[in-house]
Structures are given as structure tokens and as C-alpha cells.
Amino acid sequence: MNMHATTHDELHAEMADKFDTDAMAQESTLLNPRFYTTDFDELDRIDVTPVREEWDKLIGQMKADPNKGHFKKNADWDKVDWDGMEPKLKREFIDFLVSSCTAEFSGCVLYKEMKRRGKNPDICELFNYMARDEARHAGFINDALREAGVAVNLGFLTKAKKYTYFRPKFIYYATYLSEKIGYARYITIYRHLEQHPEQRFHPIFKWFKEWCNDEFSHGEAFALLMRTDPKLTESFANKLWIRFFLTAVYSTMYVRDHARPAFHEALGVDIDWYDQEVFRKTSEIAKQVFPMELDIDHPRWMPNLKRMERAFRKIEAGEKQGGIAGRIAKFGAGAQAAWAFVSLYTIPVKKSTPPASVRLEPAY
């Protein structure tokens, strides 16, 4: 699993002052996204003809940009008592905002690069709209961070950046899943807070519904792309990859959410319940393209997620401890995590047949 690099407190204080004085920044967070390349020729060869009708409809929706006016602060944006917030909750919540902002930002960088390097007009148009949405979301989260006295620093451009590589099909699987699971996560919190408004400790949650509809439609675009080439979801090797992506994304989410106990407690959300609910929704949606879903009710599922979470805690403890003993502890815990992953990966999947028409509307 990847540890991406969002580094807190990297910038000197005097720079932070110059950078964002009106937000009274006490802390600055350097956004540090990766930069990507892919096989642009392969991307250009995509032909959306088999899904043309649905494609044009979806692109038309994106072009019309129904959410353009949504990401504005209005009277619903209540005053947030940052100073009165319990410190652990504040830390976890800011971490949540920073990683959300980084994810949107990384999406923006990736999509923009695809748009710029691609030559296929259909693909370029799609990536252009998606980059627009991601930049907008990132701006909105950034504003919430400013209120909390956290300045986001975009100075990373003048640092050396290595370009990494995603195979086009991995872009489809990974971004499809990240967009759909993002939808499931946001809508589950949104619906929960509709029932329990007293637990909405920050106004940003009120924006989650329209926000996640953007995520949903981005996912739809990738679903259509995957439909242009049946091999992407039907070949033996690719099915194994899809299983791998599902297992990796689900188990990372489980480990990660459990590292934010105060955040979920403040929302009144039981993390195990929440995660299973998000997996269930994501799996149900993903049946539109993936010919299988993970069996999250299998007796091996939850115990191995818990095992993986414990292993990650040990890895972290080993890192803090340092030295040879720390390294040995880390190595042992790494093996435990790997074993838990294998145990999850080998749970028999539930096979399904994607429907003839791929398109879905957000229904949760």
C-alpha cells in the first residue's frame, strides 16, 4: 500500500506568513502530489463508438455543469468553533480535510496531464471536465482548511518531481473505484447526518451530496470507457487485477478509517458498520462493469481486515521505536499484513454479469 507524501510543517514559518496572511496560518501543509505518465497512444486509440449514445449524454451533463453554483459558501455554512473543538478531533478532522484535498488535487493533476497529452478529442474533453471538478473540490476544501488556520502550500513545483507511470487500464480501474467509493463514503455520511443533524460538527458535510454526485458521474465515465473494450473486464488476468484493486482499496480504507477514531465518534458512526456499508454500496454499483464482487460477509473477511489493521499499528510502532529491534518488529508486522492481504484476496468472489446498459444514476 502506498504512503503518499503530504508533509505537514515543511515550510518555514516566515514563508507561511507571506503566503496566506489573512488566514492567520499557524500551520502549513505542503501538497505533494505525484505526477503521472501513461501510454498516451493506447489512450488515444480508445474508440467510444460502442457506447456513443450514453457517452454523449454524460459528456453533455458534464458540459452543462449543474454543480457550478453549488460550491459556494452561503447561509448554510455555519460558524465553526475551531478553538472549542476537542484537540484530537480537530487533528483527525484536519487530517481528513488535507487528505481529501490531496486526493482531489492529485486527481486534477492526473486528469489535466491526460487532457494535455492526449489527442483523442472524446478523451480530452472528458478529462478536461473532470480536472475542472477536482480543482473546484480542492478549492472548496482548501477554504475550509483556511478557516481552521491551515494554509495549503502549492510550492511543490519548484521541487524535483519524478514522473511515475500508470498503465491506462490501471487508470480505469483505480480511478473508477476511487470515484465510486468516494461517492459511497460521502453519501453514507450525508444520509447518516440527515438522520442525526446534531452530530454534524462542521458545515462541509452539508455539501457532500452534490459533491459526491460529481464523483459518481466521473465514475460513470470510466465505466463507459471500460465498456469500450470487453477484454478490460473479462480476460482472466484482468479479472485478477480487478480483484486485487478491490481488495487493496477496501482494506486500505478499513485500516485508514480506524486510524481516525475521534472523527468517526464525533459523527456518531461505528467504523466497522460504516466501512461495511460503504463496501456494500460500492460493490453494488461496481456490478455495472466488474463481473464480480468481493464477498464481504465471508467469515474470513472481517477477521483479516482486523488482522491487517493490527499489523499496520505494529509497523507504525516499529517505525517509532527505530533501531534494529524496531526494524525487526516492522518486518514481522509487514509479513502479517501481507498474509492478511493474501487471506482476503483468496476469499472466493461472487460472480455476476454486468447489465447490457452500463449507465447508473446515484440512488443512495
Binding site: 502506498n2 480542492a138 502549492l154 514522473y163 507511470y165 484493486f245 486500505t252
Partner: protein, 98 residues
Amino acid sequence: MSLFSRKVEQVPCTVEVSHRFEALHAHVRFNDGSVVHPGDEVQVQGPPVLAAWGELIIEDRIATITRANALERLWTRLTGDFEFMELCEFSFSEEMSV
């Protein structure tokens, strides 16, 4: 392309950094049409491009592209895919517990 040695190029580029409510983004475009390949390293020269809140900066700069050698390129092609998790909102920041 050499197996081991890296080539360094200086390329004119345009940086665009938006630090506004409506969009937060930062991009580099190479003005001479240079193309970056897996494993290449890019560094924009000069002081950090720091857009203040509400600001959009579009600026011409020079970028240094350090080309990956054949081994690095191959390695990046083989392993880059596993960095996909960054696109998820719940991916890891530096430390697991905050």
C-alpha cells in the same frame, strides 16, 4: 537512451498556480512541446511559486528535466501502477495515526 547515465535538459515552461476559492490547482506546461516519460524528473527553476489566497499566477520559467536511464524507466513502468492509492481520499498521509 543510455542504460545507466541520465541526460539533463533545460526547457522553457509555463507554470500556472491557482490558489482561489473556485479552483486550487498547479500545472506545468513545456513550451517547446517536450514530453516527459516514466521515471523522468522535473524541477521548475527559481524560487517557489507561491500564490497567495485568491491569486492566479501564470509565469514563464525554466524547467530542468532529468531523463531517466533505461533501467529507471523500466523500473517505473513496472512499479508505478502500485501508487494508485493516492487517488483515494482515504490514502495514507505520512503517519497512520494523527
